[in-house]
């Protein structure tokens, strides 16, 4: 019996750990997701992939110096063992992994030319949060905000709308990537904004008589006391024949700052002007500057004329006051395009934003791309190393400023998927990689989009039931509008 087991062991290890002899070809394998030449963090989950249009047995050799890992696969796909992958990455931090794919064809094994994966020294924040929602229009069904452990393939819900009467929830936002301090909105049933600070859950009624809507797009002040919001009157319409399909536009918008301690909204004439539309606020990491986008109003029939500049104004967190001078980092009037989603890296060195031909809901604009401003020297460039010929839109930074996650529709043009890219101190980015899944075919059948991907430093405490009870039973705190304080 022991002999049988021994030989079985030999056979099994021989089968999975050995590399077959075969014919080397010069071509690179066509893999999905495209993990060729990507830069990855050392704590990322296994990057399972498949050989496109192959149903064959595979062997894949991952080699970095002395460290190597051989993985077998069937049906054209590989599933990399998590522990061994992690061990490989730890050994390869700061180095390159050469990946060689072996495909078992009818007349023998084919050995493709190797491609590289670069392992960055710096880890990525271990979780991202996102909303999963169909990429449409007005109606919804099952919806939720989820978190994904980036070190494994596990996704768990933060909040699902089945807990709250199938309502709409959106605009989740974390204070400095802190999973214990966040907020999101609920709409329609049990409407309000839910603010979570540790064990404290608060429900806010954020519509005031002076603002055109409830609070919409959020961005936390680094100190945690304030949250900048936009207020928007948003509409949607459909192109009769345009690859962009849908147009979402504001008929009006302003920017305000909410004080979590006093439940008051403050603003400034430069953020609340009727003759301009202000939106997408974000604070600098030192909390002394508020960036935002601003456009000249146009009627909906001239929607392509609506172009947002990227601006900034100073903010005094002690007095809740704003400067009177608005600086323009990107001028839509002169450059002719439209900025959205400014986000500053936590180290304060770079500002990432989205630029598209017009408008502000850039997820529906195929020409939307990511741009990076070096805040030290003021230079701006297109991030050609991460952009594609389809949408790149919403993005966020990791806490160590070395990684970004962004939304892209490059796979099929409709379903938004999260991509990660490494950014070094000089603002140069590595090739982005798609959020890995256990099954490489997952995205092909998945009918929801990943919306507002946010990197967070830990797991959000699962308290869906508590949040639901708060939303249902608590009347909420009415937010008051204080207006401009100078």
């Amino acid at each position: 019996m022991r002999t049988v087991i021994f030989f079985l062991f030999i056979i099994l290890t021989a089968c999975t750990n050995s590399l077959p002899e075969g014919v080397k070809v010069e071509s690179l394998p066509a893999v999905f997701p495209d993990y060729m030449d990507v830069t990855i963090p050392r704590n990322i989950a296994p990057l399972n992939f498949k050989l496109v249009d192959s149903k064959q047995k595979l062997r894949v050799l991952f080699k970095s110096g002395e460290a190597e890992l051989i993985v077998g696969g069937t049906n054209g796909k590989i599933t990399i063992p998590k522990k061994k992958w992690r061990a490989l990455l730890e050994k390869s931090a700061g180095k390159k992994i050469d990946v060689t794919v072996y495909e078992n064809e009818k007349n023998g094994w084919k050995i493709y030319a190797p491609f590289a994966m670069y392992v960055a020294d710096e880890p990525i924040d271990p979780y991202i949060a996102y909303r999963l929602i169909e990429p449409g229009y007005e109606l919804w069904n099952q919806m939720g905000i989820y978190q994904r452990d980036l070190e494994s393939h596990t996704q768990t819900p933060i909040m699902e709308n089945k807990m709250t009467g199938d309502n709409c929830m959106n605009c989740h936002s974390f204070c400095m990537q802190n999973p214990d301090k966040m907020l999101f909105h609920m709409r329609e049933t049990y409407p309000g904004t839910i603010l979570i600070d540790g064990d404290k859950i608060e429900k806010l009624n954020t519509k005031t008589d002076q603002t055109i809507s409830s609070l919409v797009y959020p961005s936390w002040h680094p100190g945690g006391r304030y949250v900048a919001f936009s207020v928007n009157a948003t509409k949607q319409a459909f192109h009769l024949n345009d690859r962009n399909r849908v147009e979402v536009f504001d008929e009006e918008s302003d920017v305000v700052v909410y004080d979590t301690e006093t439940h008051e909204i403050v603003t400034s004439p430069v953020l609340f002007a009727k003759e301009r539309w202000e939106t997408f606020p974000t604070f600098s990491p030192d909390g002394k500057t508020l960036f935002f986008c601003s456009a000249e109003p146009y009627p909906v029939t001239e929607f392509k004329q609506i172009k947002y500049s990227l601006c900034s104004v100073s903010f005094d967190p002690d007095n809740r006051t704003f400067g009177s001078t608005v600086d323009t980092l990107y001028n839509a009037g002169t450059d002719g395009r439209s900025a959205s989603f400014p986000r500053v890296s936590p180290d304060g060195n770079h500002l990432l934003y989205t630029l598209s031909g017009y408008g502000n809901f850039s997820i529906w604009h195929k020409d939307a791309d990511l741009y990076l401003i070096n805040l030290k020297n003021g230079t701006t460039r297109a991030m050609n190393e991460v952009n594609s010929n389809d949408v790149e839109s919403y993005h966020s930074w990791s806490s160590n400023s070395r990684w970004i996650v962004f939304s892209s529709r490059r796979i099929d043009g409709l379903y938004t998927r999260p991509y990660f890219a490494y950014i070094n101190e000089n603002g140069q980015a590595g090739k982005p990689f798609l959020l890995p899944q256990k099954d490489p075919d997952y995205y092909h059948r998945f009918m929801k989009s990943y919306n507002i991907p946010e990197l967070i430093t830990g797991k959000v405490k699962p308290q869906g039931r508590s949040i639901a009870l708060k939303a249902k039973n608590d009347p909420g705190v009415d937010v008051k509008f204080k207006g401009s304080l100078h």
């Binding site: 007005e138 199938d166 459909f238 009769l240 029939t301 099929d412 409709l414 059948r445």
Partner: protein, 585 residues
């Protein structure tokens, strides 16, 4: 004699089952086609695993598996009949385990029927019946075990399994088993209370840990109903009736010597009661009014436009019916020619207002598709897909395949084709669409897809921002070969009695490719526009038959102008004209 009674009972039961099937197939066959589009079973792990990961998921999955066959003729009626019959048979088996001294089969039909009535409700998931059935099978298995300790262990396992696989029926199971243990004086009866405790803990944990949204969705059959709606109390009947029957079976002592009267009553009374209950339930819950729209929907879905038109004779007060009729006329290229032959009631009959419901979204997708507004057809298809009760809407997924192919969005079309290829009924159609992927020539050669693609505007703009009429005009001008945009526009103007608008339409487009000749309905409107200017009639080539008929119409009006019954009088002979619509509607 006992054997004879048994055969009579089985014969009556069989009669009921056959009658049920025949009744469903005759009176409700379109109901099953309508229900089918709300659910989508796919034979793939990415469909199965998420279902198995939540309480009640297995029952939902089995329910969708069965529903996929509803598209095949007779299958809906057969599957529903089989489910209900099995429920009755299992209840009978259960009750006979407890008390074999009586005949329970006919009485067992009553809770089964209460489940049956639910199937007429568009918002009910047939998975609820599947779950009930699985629970009965498990309960029967439990009662077969004679060893008290084994039965107790079995029940503990089953409560847990039913909780995960079948949802709320696990509570019913626990209650039935407790009733049984106490009712039969079993030694472990007090231990059986642990089953209820276990059920309570499982339910509580599922809500506490956010697996389930509300308590009623795990403890009550509300789980199998549209979560945003409040179900009728009918949904609880099967649970309550089963418990009652169970209690009666436990309580009733067997009678050794039954008198003839008793034997006859035991045979006839349940049968009569079942019939009465069935009659009452069908009247109360049969939703007969909705059957007509389901029929129209089926004919529309399968392109049987003549059937839709044939169903639309006589008075119509429902905008939904009229919308289907006008769609059918448009698909036959006869909208403006024949629309006023039928009972039109205003613009909503041509283009319903979107009320964000599934069924209106589907209909509007069809209407916009017919018009050639592919963008809005796609939007409505997407909305309908998102708002279904089950796991998907295969009918609208087909529309999404088509519209994405038309736009050349082949990757997305391929994604949807992949999904449909995992279904039983749609895989063949899906496979046939593959030839269009990345093959513009094939698309352009196809009669349907090519025409829709040719109808796409070159210079796009936002739909509905300049008014629907602007969209229709632009579509008509861009691709005059498709008459539907101009006929819908003309129809909308006439139904709204906007004669000025209609006049502008004629002056702009008559004699062009967009409107080379006037269809009958438009000719009638020309006469209204210019009643005292016959030269205008000649200009627009109004036919002599139309002119003559108007002459008679006018004479009738003048002759009866003081008659209070004028509308009724005119409706008889001229109700199928635009003149009547304009004057009296």
């Amino acid at each position: 004699m006992k054997e004879k009674r048994k055969y009579i009972v089985w014969a009556l039961f069989s009669l009921l089952v056959i009658a049920l099937f025949v009744f469903l197939q005759q009176e409700y066959r379109y109901h099953f086609f309508f229900i089918e589009q709300n659910f989508m079973f796919r034979s793939s792990l990415d469909y199965i695993m998420p279902h198995l990961a939540v309480p009640g998921g297995l029952a939902n999955m089995v329910g969708e598996f069965l529903i996929q066959f509803y598209m095949f003729p007779y299958a809906g009626a057969a599957i529903t009949t089989a489910l209900i019959a099995l429920v009755a048979l299992l209840i009978n088996a259960l009750l006979r385990q407890i008390n074999s001294g009586y005949s329970w089969l006919l009485l067992a039909c009553i809770p089964a029927l209460s489940l049956f009535f639910l199937h007429f409700d568009f918002n009910y998931k047939p998975a609820g019946t599947v779950a009930f059935l699985l629970m009965l099978i498990a309960a029967w298995g439990g009662l077969v075990i004679k060893n008290d300790r084994f039965r107790f262990a079995y029940n503990l396992v089953v409560v847990s399994c039913l909780f995960w696989c079948c949802g709320s029926v696990f509570v019913l199971y626990a209650l039935l088993m407790v009733l049984y243990e106490f009712g039969t004086g079993k030694p472990l009866r007090y231990w059986s209370l642990l089953l209820v405790l276990l059920a309570g803990i499982l339910g509580e944990m599922s809500v506490r840990f956010a697996l389930i949204g509300e308590y009623k969705l795990i403890f009550l059959p509300d789980m199998f109903y549209h979560t945003r709606l409040q179900p009728k109390s009918l949904i609880y009947f099967s649970y309550i009736l089963l418990i009652l029957l169970y209690a009666v079976a436990l309580w009733l002592k067997p009678v050794k010597e039954k008198k003839l009267f008793f034997k006859l009553a035991e045979l006839t009374l349940p049968f009569v009661f079942v019939l009465l209950f069935a009659g009452w339930g069908l009247r109360e819950y049969g939703d007969e009014k909705a059957q007509h729209v389901k029929k129209l929907d089926y004919f529309s879905r399968t392109g049987q436009w003549d059937e839709v038109i044939n169903e639309s004779r006589g008075s119509m007060t429902n905008y939904l019916y009229i919308c289907y009729l006008n769609l059918a006329l448009a698909e036959k290229g006869q909208l403006a020619e024949r629309m006023f032959l039928y009972d039109q009631r205003g613009v909503d009959g041509l283009l319903l207002k979107w009320n964000k419901t599934f069924s209106i979204s589907v209909l509007l997708s069809d209407v916009y598709y017919s018009i050639g507004n592919v963008a809005l057809a796609q939007e409505m298809a997407f909305e309908a897909s998102v708002s279904v009760l089950g796991s998907g809407n295969p009918r609208m997924l087909k529309r999404l395949v088509e519209t994405n192919i038309i736009y050349g969005e082949y990757k997305v079309a391929g994604k949807y084709i992949d999904l449909l290829e995992q279904t039983a009924y749609y895989k063949k159609w899906a496979r046939e669409q593959r030839r269009f992927l990345y093959n513009d020539a094939a698309v352009e050669e196809d009669h349907l897809l090519g025409e829709k693609r040719r109808g796409l505007l070159v210079d796009s703009y936002l739909s509905n921002t300049n008014g629907l009429d602007r969209d229709l005009i632009n579509l008509a001008e861009h691709y005059p070969a498709n008459r539907n945009p101009i006929e819908y526009l003309g129809g909308l103007l006439l139904l709204a009695k906007d004669l000025e608008g209609f006049k502008t339409l004629l002056e702009t487009y008559y004699g062009t490719d967009v409107l080379p000749v006037l269809p009958n309905g438009f000719q009638e409107a020309v006469i209204i526009l210019s009643e005292k200017m016959p030269e205008e009639w000649a200009k627009y080539r109004v036919g002599q038959a139309v002119i003559d008929r108007f002459g008679q119409y006018r004479k009738s009006i003048l002759a009866n102008k003081n008659n209070q019954a004028l509308p009724q009088l005119m409706a008889r002979d001229y109700g199928n004209t635009y003149w009547f619509y304009f004057m009296f509607k």
